[in-house]
């Protein structure tokens, strides 16, 4: 399958006042698939993510989406380009109900709802899809972690993205909740959304991702299928040695 990559990252570097968080990282994400980014804490995964999502610009390097240079695009222009993201530190709209959270985002993006009716209908649909329908009237600040994580995804989905960035969506979930999250992500992918995710939970990475990129100290040290990556001696030395314990956590 020689499809053009949907996301192409070329030599991006991020320097923060003397600290180089990310150094000349390049990779591409195949359209239609699920790609994962893993690495020990501090490897630069979130920084890379934030650069690709327009949260802050790379010090050097360029980012392409479907061939178009999006390096300088501002964060709020992304949903118009059919790109959505979730946040690692969850940002529920605390004082709004679950329904209102999703209604809010239904108004925006390239296919933003034109009126209340459309927004609410789309919100209900997304809530059904993500399994939050029953809890739609609960205030989002009163929900537990797994539900808040699903709300993050629901909000992102309501903007009808083609490309979804998931930032550690499974941190803090127990095994059963992790399985649920994996199923949901697969369903999202099957509905036609390309996914790039950062994850620590190896079980999820292995079962979901067809391609994995490994970062360490701000540099890409390996990429390939999960099997290839897990058997890479350097990766094992640097990362998976500690990871095996974490996967059982």
């Amino acid at each position: 399958m020689a499809e053009a990559p949907i996301i192409e990252v070329k030599n991006i570097t991020k320097r923060f006042k003397g600290l180089t968080a990310v150094r000349e990282v390049s990779f591409s994400v195949r359209e239609g698939g699920i790609t994962g980014m893993i690495g020990p804490n501090g490897a630069g995964k979130s920084t890379t993510f934030n650069m690709i999502c327009g949260y802050y610009p790379p010090t050097e390097g360029r980012i392409f989406y479907k061939g178009q240079d999006i390096t300088d695009k501002k964060a709020y222009e992304y949903t118009n380009m059919k790109i959505a993201r979730t946040f690692q530190i969850m940002k529920p709209l605390k004082n709004l109900s679950v329904l209102d959270n999703v209604v809010a985002s239904s108004y925006f993006g390239h296919a933003g709802a034109k009126n209340v009716k459309e927004a609410r209908e789309r919100a209900m649909e997304v809530l059904q899809f993500t399994g939050l329908y029953e809890k739609r009237h609960v205030l989002s600040k009163d929900m537990g972690t797994p539900d808040q994580k699903r709300l993050e995804m629901a909000r992102a989905l309501a903007t009808r993205p083609e490309m979804l960035f998931l930032d550690e969506n499974m941190a803090g979930l127990n095994p059963a909740e992790t399985e649920d999250a994996i199923r949901l992500i697969r369903r999202i992918n099957e509905s036609g959304v390309t996914i790039l995710l950062i994850e620590h939970i190896m079980q999820a990475v292995v079962s979901l991702c067809e391609e994995v990129i490994v970062l360490h100290h701000g540099e890409k040290i390996a990429e390939g299928t999960p099997e290839q990556v897990m058997n890479d001696p350097y990766v094992m030395e640097v990362y998976l040695g500690t990871k095996k314990e974490d996967a059982h956590a």
């Binding site: 999502c53 949260y55 501002k74 964060a75 709020y76 222009e77 992304y78 949903t79 118009n80 959505a84 993201r85 979730t86 946040f87 940002k91 529920p92 709209l93 605390k94 004082n95 709004l96 209102d100 209604v103 809010a104 985002s105 108004y107 925006f108 993006g109 933003g112 709802a113 209340v116 009716k117 927004a119 609410r120 209908e121 209900m124 009237h137 909000r155 992102a156 903007t159």
Partner: protein, 352 residues
Amino acid sequence: MDSKRAVHIYHRNLAIAVGLILLVFALIPMAVKSPYLLNIFVLVFYMSTLSMAWNLLGGMTGQNSLGHAAYMGLGAYACCLLVVKTGANPWLAGIFGMVVVGLVAGIVFYPCFILRGPYFTLVSIAFGESIRQVIINSAFFGRASGVGLPFGSDSWVHFRFTSKVPYYYVGLLMMIGVYLVMKKIDRSKMGFALKTIREDEDAAAAIGINPTRYKIMAVVISAMVAGLVGFFYASYIRYIDPELMIQAKSTESVLPAIVGGAAYVEGPIIGGLIMIPLSEYLRANFSAILPGINMLMYAVALLVVIRFRPAGILGWYMNSRTKAFVDEKILRKPPLGVLEEVEMMGYRKGEA
């Protein structure tokens, strides 16, 4: 009972309740003749409106401005000066005043929107004081002596009356009108954008909301409504001076919203209805012996609310058993699921 019928009955009950309240307010001037009491109502109307204007920016968008009296003052000045210098009709001058305030707010705050939280508040204070200083120092604006509106006989065209009754009705209409506008915004795309910005600006950007654009819209609308109140005030009191824009007045404009519940569009109205008559009563009866007692009471109320019921009076009410009782027994409100179901049915019908 059939869902649709249940919802229909609820809406009917709600309409009756609201209608009754409006009727009471419409009839008050017939029963109450004392200008002092009527004045209190007028005060409630325009202060609540000003507070609603503030609340669009403060409660809904999360940007707390402590300089809103300046917008009201600027609107009043723009309007009065146009009338005095060119003899223009006050109503048109009022619109002119609103536009001026909107422009000034939008232009000045455009660069200031990088500022969040406390910094925004500080700039709003500085900006408010700056406007006041400009006016005090400018002969064109009448310096400290202020500007008076021309005298004359009662007239709707010139919006001047000796009796307080017409002002009562205009004030009531203004408050209701602004309320409806704010309610509409609350439920619209812009309302959701503002609330999202309030909760989390980063999440807002991730969804696709341009925070600066919406904040400016909020500031401009908020300022324009404040300008409208300025126009009303000027027409009512017939005289304005820089005292109108002192810091204390800005703070006063915020109190009804906080006490009533800043998260709700109705908050400032409830807060105003409760606090302003109380404050006026204290001021009229006690300020000779104990000056400042009315504001002291206001301050105590504010502190008590923030400490114990930070969501304000409405915030408390919305979660209270009293509301549950009222909803169930008096209004016969069906459960949320039923309301939704009927709403959705309505949508689908519209599609066909």
